[in-house]
Symmetry: none
Subunit: 191 residues, 4 copies
DNA sequence: GATGAATGAGCGTTCATTCAT
DNA sequence: CATGAATGAACGCTCATTCAT
């Protein structure tokens, strides 16, 4: 295995450039430059730009999942768990704006669609915690009887939107507002 | 005067290609081709690609606004008006998937950010109906006391997410689900 | 014959645009616009852009020749005639900067080379007066014994250079300087 | 470090094509082709076409300056120095016709005007030798009392014209004629 | 393994010219 | 005759990818 140093630098550089400038505002040469490696070196670690983009996505997803699971207790009520997760997501996005903007770019691009399709018969990941939580909520009849994907929309739609507004400077989220917005999302979900 | 025929064909082709492939999956030559015109012809109607993209956006926004206003009655309750609007938005997106995907691409791009910033001191448009509605809801104390932008997130976040899922085939929205999701959004908003 | 009005407008517009912006700063559409005619109309009067450029050149050459001949008396001495011509040329260039700049552009372009080659076995024109004058000067042994083309260079080189400098604002030619520069040219020529 | 080989080939190709066909008769693709490199390669060495054109100009100017200075002795008389310089210029132009035609194209274009304006508060270069020479000639009262720019015109105008005629085949300059034309220029300048 | 110079297809855009009206 | 909308070849330039060193 090649020195992970270089791989890390490439990934970091790609994250920063793509988050700030979008996929086509981040040429491979610029990524290489920012990473302090030769242009050709990127291709030792990633077959091509698409692969780099997808692997970077997976890494960020993993980081987010780790944060979500930190302090997550399956013993608490559905509502409490929902609030734990929502708060964690929002705080993560706000304190890691590059990660958030990258994830957004990814989702709003052909990559995102492919990715979701691939996941219809998916393995365990961040969304799965939610899936289990929602399924439990459904069976306990504490949340609305709607298809899972719609519950995701109800839960994530406002969060993502609000996180973007914060990052773009249209609102300034503090702890109070974070709590309130998540409570509001819960109001949308709960039966 | 130029036959508007050609302008229309260009706009239609651009809509379709950009909705399906994103801005950089839609080269001018391809748009021209699909529109059945010469490459240079586009430039008789639009100064450059940016202008084409922005004008197309404005046209779609206008169409959507028209649909929203159809049957909108300021005399009804805040809740009823919210449901009218939400239903109209969702129905429009579902029956005009290209429009919806175009609007999404636009919003999730530098164009969209610029557009929003430009509109901070904005004139009457579709978002303004919502603004007025929310302000009334706030003053009547029927919706939560949150900044306007967050109310937008609460209202639109789930709608957009759900519309996308429908278009990508992840859910199949029927009238029943539409009513339910909008009711859920209302639950998120209402005090 | 078509209304000469339009032809004149086209020629005038072409002169102005080409003099100010060069040949490729003067698209046919812009010339048509400035001339107040349709783009296609130009092609009724001139087969193509090259023809327009060449005909315009010929017109300017003719105008200049007329000015040169005004008050020209074959009876005066070679020196006096030379000074008459030089003064006339310089005054013309200074008071018709568009004409001058056009002529310059023309000479310093493939058109100019072709034009000169075509003229090696040439008819009567402005240069011919000079040719006769120089031939007479040679036979009278009042000017240096050099090939004709070199005499032209000695006579015109400084004039053109000085006219350009005046138009570009690097010198300001007044009557005194005009007289002096032409006298200097004569010093270069005379035996 | 890139082999300067390629840069040289590009420069040579650009020189040849532009000298022969003018700036717009020398598309980047054609230059690349003639240089035996890919179209994109040019942009590794020159930011854009303008930069290529200007750098090539500067290189030629430098070469010419070197030739001028070779054997130049500030101790000789103004006349002798003038003749040294003029002879060197003319010989250089004649034996490097591509250089000469390139320099001409450059001077007779917007580039040239910008270049001259930039140089009004200029550093030492080829023209400066002339400036010093003329200033000395003025103070010694051996050359005519005219503005510097006009002295340049008197000195260079005929030289350039005669060099062009030679290159286009309208005269054939030999050593004898070179000496004579420069002597004639001196006659024009001297008091 | 690492490099970065080289590549060339592909982009957005311009403009001389044509031809239906 | 006059028009100007339409054309498409050609331009300057970018960038993902390759490969000799």
């Amino acid at each position: 295995m090649a020195k992970p140093d270089k791989r890390d630098e490439i990934v970091r550089a790609a994250l920063e450039l793509i988050a700030e400038n979008g996929f086509h505002g981040a040429p491979m040469a610029m990524i290489a430059d920012k990473a302090g490696v030769g242009a050709g070196t990127i291709y030792r670690y990633f077959e091509n730009k698409d692969v780099l983009i997808n692997e970077l996505y997976r890494e960020l997803e993993q980081r987010l999942l780790t944060v979500l699971m930190d302090g997550y207790s399956p013993d608490k009520s559905v509502r409490e768990r929902f609030i734990h997760l929502g708060t964690a997501v929002l705080r993560y996005c706000i304190s890691n704006p590059l990660d958030f903007r990258y994830l957004e770019q990814f989702h709003n691009s052909p990559y995102g669609v492919v990715h979701r399709r691939d996941k219809i018969s998916g393995e365990a990941d961040d969304k799965d915690i939610y899936r289990k939580l929602f399924e439990e909520g459904l069976s306990r009849q504490v949340i609305k009887d709607l298809p899972l994907v719609m519950l995701f929309s109800l839960a994530f739609g406002p969060l993502i939107s609000v996180a973007r507004d914060h990052i773009l400077g249209f609102v300034s989220l503090d702890d109070d507002l974070i709590v309130k917005i998540i409570a509001a999302c819960w109001d949308g979900l709960k039966r």
